[in-house]
Symmetry: D2
Subunit: 283 residues, 4 copies
């Protein structure tokens, strides 16, 4: 029998003695059966993080009551997020490269993405035929003959149609303005084709080739105003050697990029990620 009405509870607040006890007491009193529970205290900031998966087998969950009960038992700075376990609504932004988008589309087609892709937006029309195969709206919004602000304005207008919970940058090769980023705080996820913070910026594979590294990688992260500097969600690496040209590295890197992005999306869409300053805590 599957768990009835499963939810994820995310709490963060200043640490103090007895928090787990207080929270689990409230959950117990509201008939919640804990399926999984994880806690973490940041030793520097003394901030407490707790993620709880629970089900309510006998009755429907009274979400506002639970939330109020929690807040009244927690420190004043507490942030409480309560989500039913269901797919997120997303829009994917891409440019010309197909590998991350293709991987996402296959997962979506078989309901393995924990998300509904509402649309794909691109500044090129290269990927239109791929997206069309999967019956998803494709918006070609060229950046040509537009200022950065004009182009982003057009993208925002398209996004407003869909009102997505998350934007996924699947090799979207445009730098975003602070204004754009500010519209979607902690809701934009990017895949960068290097093992950050190595090789920030353009052409990381060329940089890696020139440096002669023996390992290359990819990094999925939240986007904030500083290029390639947002909180890191997931990273992975592969071995390379002197026989790899910069182009060979880019080819080999595609597989690690797409897998790292997919893993990060799974973590985010299952509400497993806390943003803690410029870092993440992931359960």
């Amino acid at each position: 029998m599957p768990h009835q009405n499963p939810h994820v509870l995310q709490i963060s607040c200043q640490d103090e003695t007895g928090l787990v006890y207080q929270i689990t007491k409230v959950l117990f009193e509201h008939g919640a059966n804990i399926l999984k529970n994880d806690e973490f205290v940041d030793a520097e900031s003394k901030r407490f993080f707790m993620r709880t998966e629970f089900s309510c087998q006998d009755r429907k969950l009274d979400e506002p009551a639970l939330r109020n009960a929690l807040l009244s038992n927690l420190p004043k700075d507490a942030e409480v997020k309560l989500c039913p376990c269901q797919n997120k609504n997303i829009v994917v932004l891409a440019t010309k490269e197909h590998h991350c988008l293709g991987d996402i589309l296959i997962r979506y087609a078989y309901d393995e993405l924990n998300a509904n892709i509402l649309a794909v937006i691109s500044n090129h029309n290269t990927l239109q035929p791929l997206v069309a195969k999967f019956g998803i709206p494709f918006h070609y919004i060229s950046h040509k003959n537009k200022t950065r602000e004009e182009h982003e304005g057009a993208v925002v207008k398209a996004l407003e149609i869909y009102d997505p919970e998350f934007l996924v940058l699947a090799k979207y090769m445009r730098i975003l303005t602070p204004d754009f980023v500010a519209k979607y705080p902690n809701r934009i996820i990017n895949i960068h084709h290097s093992f950050l913070p190595a090789f920030i910026g353009a052409n990381p594979y060329k940089q890696a080739f020139d440096r002669g590294v023996k390992i290359i990688g990819a990094t999925a992260h939240y986007v904030n105003n500083d290029l390639d500097e947002g909180p890191i969600i997931e990273q992975d690496v592969i071995d390379v050697n002197h026989r790899f040209s910069a182009k060979d590295m880019a080819k080999a890197g595609r597989d690690v990029e797409k897998i790292v992005l997919a893993k990060a999306l799974k973590l985010v869409f299952e509400d497993r990620v806390f943003i803690n300053g410029n870092k993440t805590a992931i359960f």
Copy 2:
């Protein structure tokens, strides 16, 4: 300021609603400040596991009182283990190979092992000079001209002097009898030079070479009566290719063996490992 009087609490029992609440309530009432907390419910056996690191900042811990309070609030089958965070006492058994023993000795010399090595026992005297460098008693107990039982009897006699909490088999190339294993239930840790369950038994590198695998590994596990079949604690692998002879594989494997064993020992000696049937749950 370091945490005062840190302890690890390990609880396992039949799962039921409210366990985390009940346990953290008792801890709260006994002045315990939870530093880290992890729970797990085995979906098949419906067994609950919880490991808690806590400190008691204001007063000395009344261990028996805490234990009794926990037991009276838990299901009848509950197992409660309460340990202060301190080094374990161990004896190492080895044969001729030096790499695992050498690695353990260096860690021990710099107090990185979470353990006190009371003695090293070997069925050869090859490693005596290495052990002597570190000022640890070395017992050479040859198996020659002895039955398996006679040899083990002599080993047990030596062990009785030291009364260790754990036996570490650091490439001890003798098969243990059920009687010997039964004397140290869940207290013997072995490193096997393959990625179990591949290549059980003798000469795993030769087996790996003959099979033409592209990856080899090592496995640290608890020893039970079935050869190479005890609960797995830690595994890791390295890449090999057609240029590796069986001997090259064995050489390359030494590094993964010693690191896997060291990681497993750290996990066990920090009381992070639960044995769950023939598996482990590790926090």
Copy 3:
């Protein structure tokens, strides 16, 4: 400027002194410019393997003349394979799972597979819509109400239309008869969802779960008559832990399966793999 008329030369023969000299002399005399060269001598069988990528910049290659010159300078048992660098023709066999097939199709759609997919054959019609998106013939050949021989007869009949150089088993969940395998010697590539030789046979993820391993993997191999026993081409692994159910392992394993299969196909289709008894030598 790209290399003109690039070829791959694969030679294997009994080892003797001077082979590299003899072979490179012939290549030099035929105007071949060596781009990459790799040799290997199997220390057990004393067999020599050499793979050479070369171009002929000034003139067209006289393949028969080069082959004859090589054979007349090599030991009598020499096998010489000379292939232009071009896509292989393949047929993919699958059952119900989409992840390996989907990954192959995306690569094929962007000409990253080093192969032309002539058709997909399946014993279920589950994957027909996915294959249709990419405009590739799909043959649904059910095994229901057929003996194994009847079913394979129908598959062979379909294959004869396409005359592929390689068959790719992309999670094809049927055991092949020796007669079928014998029709395509060293031309069938399978992905097995375990780190072989661990967990041979059915339900490897369930086996892995039951054994409590900390690492799972996937293996791409040539198919011979013994189930899961053919020469291994590529393997990779991922970490798991006690929180993974058998189903979680299967889900997590999909990504490693598809990447391992893709890597193996690239190696085979670029003529990088020698079969050496039941092993491979890969350059």
Copy 4:
């Protein structure tokens, strides 16, 4: 029977057609039996690299004659290095940390290092007891009350006694002057405790912690005048997560540091590494 009189030949020169043929012809004529052979052409610089392991079974090798014959058949810029397969003479420099030095000492004690450790030099006396266990001269050369140049002068004076082929910096926490580095061109090997070029400079684990990376690493490289910028020999990584403090990362990093350094030393001491500008080609 082991190979008689094994040698390693390293050749680098401008690429041209027929080099492998010319070189193997000379080797054949001098009675050399090729055991392993690897070539590489740098596509950017058009430079050719070849490493050959060979034996001379019937007669003693006439090294000068072979070298002359090679040079007269190769482009004028050719560099030819011919080494018998034997241990290198090295001096190890360290500061206070024991893990890399300890690992090297154990390998040395069992003749697994491909090197003779002539002495250990340190700017602290912390590691003296460890080195003394292995009967190796230990030079404590404090940097206190000395200018950088005075301190290095004292180190050079100690080094002159031993005339080592290579200097190994096993966590030697002193920045070297260009003059010092110039005395030992391509002969100083360092282990840096990060995945270069991420986290260049001081306290890389603190930097990694602050950035919130999910993977940390270590890099072994030749030392040139630019801090942490020399040609990379070997790198490896391990996973970390939000539960790791900077100190935990440093502890976990020790194992990857010592293994990466040991692998790099093996490659260098077996004459497998070519320096190609600021990169390496490794066979």
